[in-house]
């Protein structure tokens, strides 16, 4: 079913045993992201979005069900350098400069940094941090740190990209800018992308499909296709079709 770089989750369940209680974070969730597609995952806080992402990255094991990236086990795909990820938490190393933090995946994968110097510089430019190359994370604002994490997720030219609320700490204007930039990068690279977001407008603007989740237990209740033409410009935000889709997603989130 999955193409060369698709994401596939097949009836995946994951529960957590807390202090005396059990949380069903994911209950029989199936999701198929074809190669080169852009899927947005939206749902109330605590519904299991980050959990789903961690399973797809191989950071956590499902209780039951199958997860594969490009037909490989998640960890094997990661080792092959196919994936990129930006976590909800920037999770930067406080002793590494902006530049060095962005280069971390290269260090992990054992790719020489020299060959990628230009790439790193252009990513720093892209996320608007030129001039802060040598700064330490402790000297940056929350939004700036998040932008470092976004740049880091792109440094390996990933074929599969996971983004967990990457723009959560950005202001609305910067967020729109980053949305446009992300779309540009995505069109150029056609990486299979799974974006977790709380912004309905962001989801509609960026995605081919929006998967809506509900909690208790965590599950995907609807998948809504976004048939808007690409590339989508900033004017799309005001179109009637855009608003209709937004309303449809809002309805799905409210359980209609």
């Amino acid at each position: 079913m999955t193409g060369p770089s698709g994401i596939r989750l097949d009836t995946v369940s994951r529960s957590f045993k807390g202090r005396g209680t059990t949380v069903q974070a994911l209950d029989n969730v199936s999701l198929d992201c074809p190669a080169g597609s852009f899927t947005a995952l939206i749902g109330p806080s605590g519904c299991g979005k980050s959990t789903l992402l961690r399973l797809a990255l191989g950071l956590d094991q499902a209780d039951s069900g199958e997860v594969s990236i490009a037909g490989l086990a998640p960890m094997d795909a990661a080792r092959a350098g196919m994936t990129g990820v930006a976590f909800q938490d920037a999770a930067l190393m406080p002793w590494r400069s902006v530049e060095d933090n962005i280069a971390l995946p290269l260090d992990v994968l054992g790719q020489p940094r020299r060959d990628n110097a230009a790439k790193i510089a252009s990513l720093i430019d892209l996320v608007g941090l030129a001039g802060f190359e040598k700064a330490l994370p402790g000297e940056l604002s929350g939004g700036m740190r998040q932008r470092v994490a976004i740049a880091r997720s792109l440094v390996t030219n990933p074929q599969v990209l996971f983004l967990d609320e990457p723009f959560g700490a950005l202001d609305q204007i910067l967020r729109r800018q980053m949305n446009v930039e992300l779309q540009r990068i995505w069109i150029a690279s056609r990486a299979t992308t799974l974006l977790v977001t709380h912004g309905i407008d962001e989801a509609v603007f960026l995605a081919d499909r929006v998967a809506v989740m509900q909690s208790k237990p965590g599950r995907i209740t609807r998948i809504i296709d976004i048939p808007l033409m690409r590339p989508r410009g900033p004017d799309v935000f005001t179109s009637a079709e855009f608003h209709r889709l937004e309303d449809e997603i809002a309805g799905a989130l409210n359980g209609h």
């Binding site: 990255l57 976590f87 406080p94 994968l109 880091r152």
Partner: protein, 524 residues
Amino acid sequence: MATETIAARGSSLRTWLVLLIIWEICGRLQLIASGALPAPSSILMRLWIDRADYPPHILATLEGAGVGFLIGNGIAVAAGVLFALFPMAARLGRGVNIALFALPAIAISPLLVLTFSDMTPRIILAAIGCYFVTMSSTVTGISQTDQRMIEVIRAYGGGRWKILVLAQMRSALPAILSGLRIAAPNAVLGSILAEFGGGGRYGLGVYLIGSLGRAEPDRLWGIGLAATLIAGLAYAVFSLIALRFTGATKAVTVPATAPGGATMSWPLWLRLLLSTGSVVIPIALWWLLLIAMGTPAMIAKTPLGLFEYLFLQPNSQASQMKLLAALGQTLPLTIAGMALGIAFAFGLALMSVLRPGIIRGFMPVALVTQTMPLVALTPLLVLILGRGPSLILWITISVTFFPAFVTMAQGLSMVPRAALDVPRAYGASLFTQLRLVSVPASLPYLFAATRLAVPRALLGVMIAEWLATGTGLGNLLNQSRGYLDYGMIWAVAVVSVLLSVVFYQCVVLIERPVLARRGMRAAQ
């Protein structure tokens, strides 16, 4: 901020000046114990007169301490990494670790001197003095690495090795450095204790022993000062390096991910096996070492030989009685001194959060009480405090206090900025900040400090008993040395190790459920 710092520095300078002047007056007028506390000026004068004597002694002590420091810490860091990465190895090695930590240096120094020649006993004792502190801070540093960073590395397929190299070693660096700065004075102390045991013509310990009989307090103080200076310098160097690294390492946000802990899910049989192993290994090592070194059986007691000495020989009964009587004198004072030392350290560490100036002002004082080799200090303290239990109590407090203070101050300084920002944003008073953030966050360090304190307290009591009060285990050790009663020396050494281990395990038993309830993990 800057003016605050300068003001704090100025005030601590003032404190020092005042103390120095009071000391000078007391010394000049022979106010304290009729001249047991000489004036700083006469100590300096004597140092100047003796200046030609010092270099060979200082060099010899530096050599023993330095080589021991390198060897001990090299082994310690390697072992720490091993233990942090493989919980099973940590469980198996626990027995050896605690035994090495609890090994009373004064008890084995005579045995070492009989077995080895010149520098070796000093190097061994210095290395042993470093090992536990550095090993455990390496484990702490590595296991407290921010889980989020580890996840990023794992997300890119990084394995154990990459995680160790890219995240854990670097994030453990401040902890390791703070371990090294405690280890540095320990190495000096270890070397000097070995020098007391005899062997070799040079070394500050040799010099001190030689001057001990001659009722010249100013020379004793001079030698003590020289030893303190060496230890203090070593401490300062590592503090400076640590300061440079801690600043950049402090996490900006609080990790929300619970630290992973697979160890609790081990099956019962495995846990039993590992526990047994951890007890058997040190005993096996003890046995093997004696065989490997070929020490004469008269001096070297194997576990079997010791059992024979304590239970099977005609005078075993008498030996047992002596040992129990000594224990009865040593135990209560150890517990009391330790409790006071830790309470004092905890209070001061908390105060240092409110008033960072305290660390700057107080650290040097704490350092002096710590690095002033106890053996040099004890005769002087005897003259001032007398030979009663209060002397033992004071000495024990001062040995326990310093490492506990450093451990807890370090723990508190690692509390992330964001964790303090939240209550501060709601206008919480400093006290509320302490109660809500600093105290809970420092709990793992309080327990770790307590575990660290146990054997030190015992060592402090024994040194004081040996040199001053003539009671308890310390005295028994000294007497047995005189009577060439090697069985008893071994018995005291083993009993004091066992005592430390029992104490240590008691702390662990309390620590586990308390930390588990708060979703925290023990700082090794």
